[in-house]
């Protein structure tokens, strides 16, 4: 019996959340899960918030995760992590990229980018893992592989074998980026709370 797992991946359009989701579901399929995924395309992709919801289990009905229902939130950006916080289960874990991408209302001075987001999230969620994914990806030689660093950190916390992930990466990541993405994934995988 596979334990149900509800995972939300959130970020800003263009950060590579979709590919991270595709590697995750490939791995989950290999591990024998039933899967439902929900994504929103279109208008939201023009620099708006983007969310991929991944539901794994023996048998999954709805493709969407309710508030208070997520076991994991993988936040590619701090504000998006804060926005998604109400979706986290009591006892769930937040993996968050320590990066701020101010939205236009903040850029034009119509709104404030909240201070101390990470402190606040830590105070609410004991299982919070904060990463400098951009720094780690840059060290691995590819600043664009932020998504793989974060996915690696999530993978390190999921009950799936390491080899399954290697296979999923090979299946989903284009050949010429594979080595750099593997390295970024491995670096993320090693991060601990």
């Amino acid at each position: 019996m596979l334990k149900p797992l509800d995972i939300i991946i959130g970020g800003v359009g263009g950060q590579g959340t979709i590919l991270a989701g595709r590697v995750l579901t490939r791995a989950a399929q290999e591990a024998g899960y039933d899967i439902k995924v929900s994504e929103i395309h279109g208008m939201a992709q023009r620099g708006g918030s983007v969310v991929t919801q991944v539901r794994l289990g023996e048998k999954v009905c709805a493709p969407m995760i309710s508030e208070g229902g997520a076991d994991f939130i993988l936040a590619f950006e701090k504000l998006e992590g804060l926005r998604l916080l109400p979706y986290l289960k009591a006892g769930g874990a937040m993996i968050i990229n320590d990066q701020a991408i101010p939205p236009v209302p903040v850029l034009v001075g119509a709104a404030q980018y909240p201070e101390k987001i990470i402190d606040y999230i830590r105070s609410k969620v004991p299982a919070t893992l904060v990463l400098d994914a951009l720094g780690i990806a840059t060290k691995c030689g590819n600043p664009r592989a932020v998504n793989m660093v974060l996915l690696g950190a999530l993978a390190g916390n999921l009950p799936l074998e390491r080899e399954i992930w290697e296979k999923a990466l090979a299946d989903r990541v284009p050949e010429k980026f594979l080595d750099a993405n593997r390295a970024a994934f491995a670096a993320g995988y090693g991060q601990q709370k």
């Binding site: 800003v12 359009g13 579901t25 399929q29 039933d34 899967i35 439902k36 995924v37 929900s38 994504e39 929103i40 395309h41 279109g42 208008m43 939201a44 992709q45 023009r46 620099g47 708006g48 918030s49 999954v60 009905c61 709805a62 493709p63 969407m64 309710s66 508030e67 208070g68 229902g69 504000l79 998006e80 804060l82 926005r83 916080l85 109400p86 979706y87 101010p102 939205p103 236009v104 209302p105 903040v106 850029l107 034009v108 001075g109 119509a110 709104a111 404030q112 980018y113 909240p114 201070e115 101390k116 987001i117 606040y120 609410k124």
Partner: protein, 588 residues
């Protein structure tokens, strides 16, 4: 082999497997991927039509000529295609025909959230509603069979959460279909009044037959569980009900028009309390009520926006079907939570539309707008659009305003994209010329259909299947409509745009300004980011008025994110103190 597919991918795959030969569409979220995916299968023909009406007419022709056919569009596209649809319902088909209507509850990417199930009833054609990708695929096959068996177009109605959610689908071998020979039959296909009246009678017979079929079809089924309450549901709502109320009895309807009255009655008899859970309109509920059955639905379930398992659970607590759990309700935001600013979509850095809207705002013009990425020009800080209704509306609206108030045209423009103009702006412009208006129309020509993910159109020089095609010459086209004042400007040059707009608005005759520059996501040859001369920046924030996501003011000084900046140079033009200088080696 099973594969994780979105509803749209599953529909495309199933169409291929079921021998669909011809497919047509105009791109529109959440339907776009259906044709994109379908066009990649071997041995099929797929095209982007300039609008949904033409797409449907192409489909009618293909069906008439004897092949299985699919036409796809977003919900509002069916409004455009409604004219042929309502009479195609009379003629019926030769080759099987399925119309996919992709509705958008919650208006994720749309100007409204109309419930297109009403169209199926209005047109008197069968309606199928899948609940996940596998059903979406299976129902393509069923739709084609019903279409051929009952001589009718069939509507397959999906919603955003079916179109863009992924679940497992079994792939099957394609089943090629024989061409069904065309036989001339004016009484069936030539809808003159006398023949139309005969077909009208046929439609009622057809519906009676379909109603009987709906009683026994496997896509309408009762799932008996606890009988203290029973829920009638369809589409994605079925999944929410299963999630929120796993123990309740369910009548799951896949064929939702015409409805299986006997099946509904027997379900109602078997449960103590009857409810309908459906998104948007009380489409099922009203019909169940009309059967004289005691049922509740919209008194609990909202008729606006999307549903979710959480909403259904909450409403079922109100209805007394579920127990309230202890503790604070899921998702309550604690009082000490910091305020979370929104992240609305914005035009990309380097978007060629940005400078146009910046200029229109500065010139304080009234702007009748249209549908596309550029509708974002109506949001802060650009805020340069007064109205936006539907595809092509900008031009007719401008003309009407001028006829109501002749002074209007002296301080107004209509703004429309290239793909939108070819979709349905042409006739509006023809009308301006014919009825002696003096509107100024800006065609924002970014050489693509950007919003939906960069599809080809008659102006791009390529087809959906990747063949080269004649690209329409926009200047010649608008001249042919009778517009004498036509000019081409570079939207990256703010002074040039401002001058052209001022001149054309002042002239008392129709004029068209074509602002041509490819979409920044297509044309990625970026120039270096501007250099910031810190000592000159006064922190005045003028540059922020562009709403470019690459510009920020940090500690009272401008800062450019060189990672996302495309070097379009607009900010260099708006900065009055010279703090932003054109980047590049020769300036270093």
């Amino acid at each position: 082999m099973k594969e994780l597919l979105s509803g749209n991918e599953a529909i495309a795959r199933a169409a291929y497997e079921c021998g669909v030969k011809v497919a047509a569409a105009y791109p529109g979220t959440p339907s776009t991927e259906i044709l994109e995916q379908f066009s990649r299968y071997p041995g099929v023909y797929a095209e982007w039509a300039p609008n949904e009406k033409v797409a449907l007419e192409v489909g009618i022709g293909a069906s008439l000529a004897g092949v299985r056919t699919l036409v796809a569009m977003k919900h509002v596209g069916v409004n455009v295609a409604a004219d042929p649809l309502l009479t195609f319902a009379y003629t019926g088909v030769n080759g099987g025909f399925v119309l996919v209507s992709a509705d958008d509850p919650g208006s994720h990417s749309s100007q409204n959230e109309q419930d297109n199930r009403q169209y199926a009833r209005f047109a008197k054609i069968p309606l199928l509603e899948p609940s996940d990708s596998r059903e979406a695929g299976d129902m393509v096959g069923l739709a084609l069979l019903l279409s051929e068996q009952y001589d009718t177009p069939v509507m397959l109605r999906i919603t955003t959460r079916v179109a863009h959610s992924q679940s497992f689908v079994e792939k099957r071998e394609p089943q090629p279909q024989e061409l069904r020979p065309y036989c001339r039959n004016p009484k069936k296909y030539l809808m003159l009044p006398a023949f139309a009246r005969e077909r009208r009678a046929f439609i009622e017979e057809r519906l009676a037959g379909l109603k009987e079929y709906s009683e026994t079809t496997p896509v309408n089924r009762i799932e008996w569980r606890d009988r203290s309450a029973g829920i009638i549901t369809s589409g994605i709502s079925y999944q929410y009900v299963r999630e929120a109320l796993p123990d309740v009895s369910v009548l799951k309807l896949g064929l939702t028009w015409p409805l299986p009255e006997k099946l509904i009655r027997s379900f109602a008899e078997g449960v103590k309390r009857l409810l309908v859970v459906e998104e948007l309109e009380p489409f099922l509920e009203e019909q169940v009520k009309a059967m004289g059955l005691a049922v509740s639905g919209k008194e609990y379930i909202p008729s606006t926006g999307e549903l979710s398992p959480g909403i259904v659970a909450g409403k079922m607590i109100e209805a007394g079907l579920l127990e309230q759990q202890g503790g604070p309700a899921a998702g309550t935001v604690p009082e000490d939570a910091p305020a979370v600013p929104g992240r609305p979509p914005v035009m990309c850095p380097g978007c060629p539309h940005r400078g146009v809207f910046y200029t229109l705002r500065r010139l304080k013009l009234n702007v009748t707008g249209d549908i596309g990425c550029y509708t974002l020009g109506g949001l802060p800080p650009l805020e340069a659009m007064d109205c936006c209704i539907c595809m092509g509306a900008s031009i007719g609206t401008a003309h009407g305003a001028e006829k109501a108030d002749p002074a209007w045209a002296g301080h107004a423009v209509a703004v429309i994209g290239d793909s939108t103009f070819l979709h349905s702006g042409l006739t509006g412009l023809l009308n301006v010329v014919y009825n002696r208006g003096s509107s100024t129309v800006l065609i924002l020509d970014n050489s693509t259909t950007a919003m939906t993910g960069h599809q080809q159109h008659p102006g791009t020089g390529y087809t959906l299947m990747g063949k080269s095609a004649p690209a329409v010459d926009l200047e010649a086209l608008v001249r042919a409509l009778g517009v004498k004042r036509v000019r081409l400007v570079n939207p990256r040059d703010l002074a040039e745009v401002a001058e052209a707009v001022k001149e054309e608005v002042a002239v008392r005759e129709p004029s068209v300004i074509i602002c041509r520059q490819p979409c920044a996501l297509l044309d990625r040859q970026s120039a270096p980011a501007p250099r910031v001369l810190m000592e000159k920046c006064t922190g005045c924030k003028t540059c922020l008025g562009l709403g470019c996501p690459a510009i920020a003011i940090i500690d009272k000084k401008v800062s450019i994110d060189s990672g996302s900046c495309t070097g379009c140079g607009l900010c260099v033009q708006v900065c009055k103190t010279g703090a932003l200088a054109k980047g590049g080696a020769d300036h270093a």
